[in-house]
Amino acid sequence: MSTRSFYKSSDGAYHPQQPATGSWNKQHQNGVAVGGLLARLIDVAPEPRPMLTSRITIDILRAVPFGPLTATVETIRDGARQQVLTSRLFSDGVLVAQANALKVRIGSNPAAGLRMTEAPLPEEAGNIPVTRVLGAGHPMETRVVSGSGKDLGPGAYWTNFNAELVEGESISPLVRVVMAADIGSGVSSVLDSKTWSYANLDLSVYLARAPVDEWVLADCRTDTVGSGTGLVSTVLYDRNGEFGRAHQTLFINPRV
């Protein structure tokens, strides 16, 4: 299996490679890979005119087995102002995950409200891996700005993916930010992962623009009132400043 791409595409299917291995269960695919693939399907769908993907909402409907996936894209609404699209992934014909996205035509208006970041740039921040699932060869490179893998509570990390999502294709800015936003639940955990599982059921990303380069900073916190779910809230930055928000719904359960 390749360690340099998350998927290989052949025979009309996407075949998971080592970086797509599940972080909670190695028989499954991880959310970074599945979300990235759903975002890529939205990204490459034809647009009637230049558009920005302003929102993408990913639902993981069931655990995604580590095997080939087939894909469809449905246009829910097609217009000069907006497009609403749904991409879906199937494992052995069963729907396992879907994304709903809004694309809006690119226009012009005064900029407003986006803050600069005072965080150290990725070149200045410490290199700390978030995931140890695949050891040193994992293509997800992370630099810590605040928080740590050991301490509970909020965390802020720069993320870069030194790999292709689908072999032979570079990772597009939309795909990159969707993949980067998926680390929120891990870096801002409020529960001990030895005792509790807190896999995310969904991921929603809201974008004021696309990121300017390969490094995305996710500043994340988790909130839970103790009723079996949690909410991760993430502010997304690149080296030019703030450009988006993201949320994940967590399913909290005792670890078995």
Partner: protein, 273 residues
């Protein structure tokens, strides 16, 4: 138009159909329904959809696919994913056979797990909040009552406000706290407005709520801000509180366009809700 004037509810139920009242009129165009009314109706359907076990709503995502006319509406609700852990519900809103809006609701089973401290709730108390509406007009048929603490449509920038539903959802259904939250989430673009509504239209194309817990009060508090990189669109981020503190984050995507020099803004464009 087929709507009924002077009602104390957003809609009148006529069999399976929902007839829009004057509280549903859009501030952007009087022939269309406002997003708060549409959001309330879809939130209601998603919330009452039965599940296999007791569940809580975690996410509500609403797409306004096209302008919703001031006509009778039908709502179709189906469960996309049924289970004892998670349920995914989809509701769609139809006018004369055309789908105008859709909502997705993600629900999860209720369980006892550890809690974590929530962010601090700094606010001006409701009793101390000025009796200041969202805009200059204080329409008797507005679906929401506001106490603007900061911002609103008269002051550009992030906004803060207490608000509650003034109208029932329908003659036999009150606007419960979840329905109210959905309506308020749709008004973040007004509370946190940054564009001059005489020059710019900034109607929202979607509204999404992410719940930390479900709200329990009729009066709710919003903190809203609008952010745009100048690409003809903007995102609004809203924090929603009740007396017990933060309960949800909400977002809207705005379609931002200039009215231009040839065309005046529509008569109602100075107000929102």
């Amino acid at each position: 138009m087929s709507h009924e004037a002077g009602s104390d509810s957003l809609y009148t139920r006529r069999g399976e159909k929902w007839v829009a009242g004057t509280g549903c009129i859009s501030p952007w165009n009087p022939a269309h329904q406002n997003g708060a009314a549409v959001s309330a109706l879809l939130a209601h359907y998603v919330n009452i959809q039965t599940a296999a076990v007791p569940m809580q709503l975690c996410r509500l995502s609403i797409d306004i696919l096209r302008p919703v006319p001031m006509t009778e509406l039908e709502v179709v609700c189906e469960t996309l994913r049924e289970g004892t852990r998670v349920q995914l519900v989809e509701a769609s809103l139809w006018s004369s056979g055309i789908k105008c809006a859709q909502a997705q609701g993600l629900k999860s089973r209720i369980a006892e797990t550890p809690e974590a401290p929530l962010p601090e709730f700094k606010r001006v108390e409701l009793k101390d909040a000025p009796d200041r509406p969202l805009d200059r007009r204080n329409r008797d048929n507005s679906p929401l009552e506001f106490r603007i603490v900061e911002g609103g449509l008269l002051q550009s920038g992030p906004g803060k406000a207490w608000a509650r539903a003034r109208l029932n959802l329908s003659n036999d259904t009150p606007a419960d706290p979840i329905t109210t939250a959905a309506m308020l989430a749709d008004t973040g673009s007004g509370v946190g407005a940054v564009f001059d509504s005489r020059e710019w239209s900034f109607a929202n194309m979607d509204v999404c709520l992410h719940f930390i817990r479900l709200p329990i009060d009729s009066w709710q508090y919003l903190e809203s801000e609008t952010q745009s990189s100048g690409l003809g669109q903007a995102i609004v981020s809203t924090r929603l509180y009740d007396q017990a503190g933060l309960f949800a984050h909400a977002h809207q995507t705005l379609f931002v366009s200039n009215y231009g020099t040839q065309k005046s803004p529509p008569e109602k464009a100075h107000t929102h809700q």
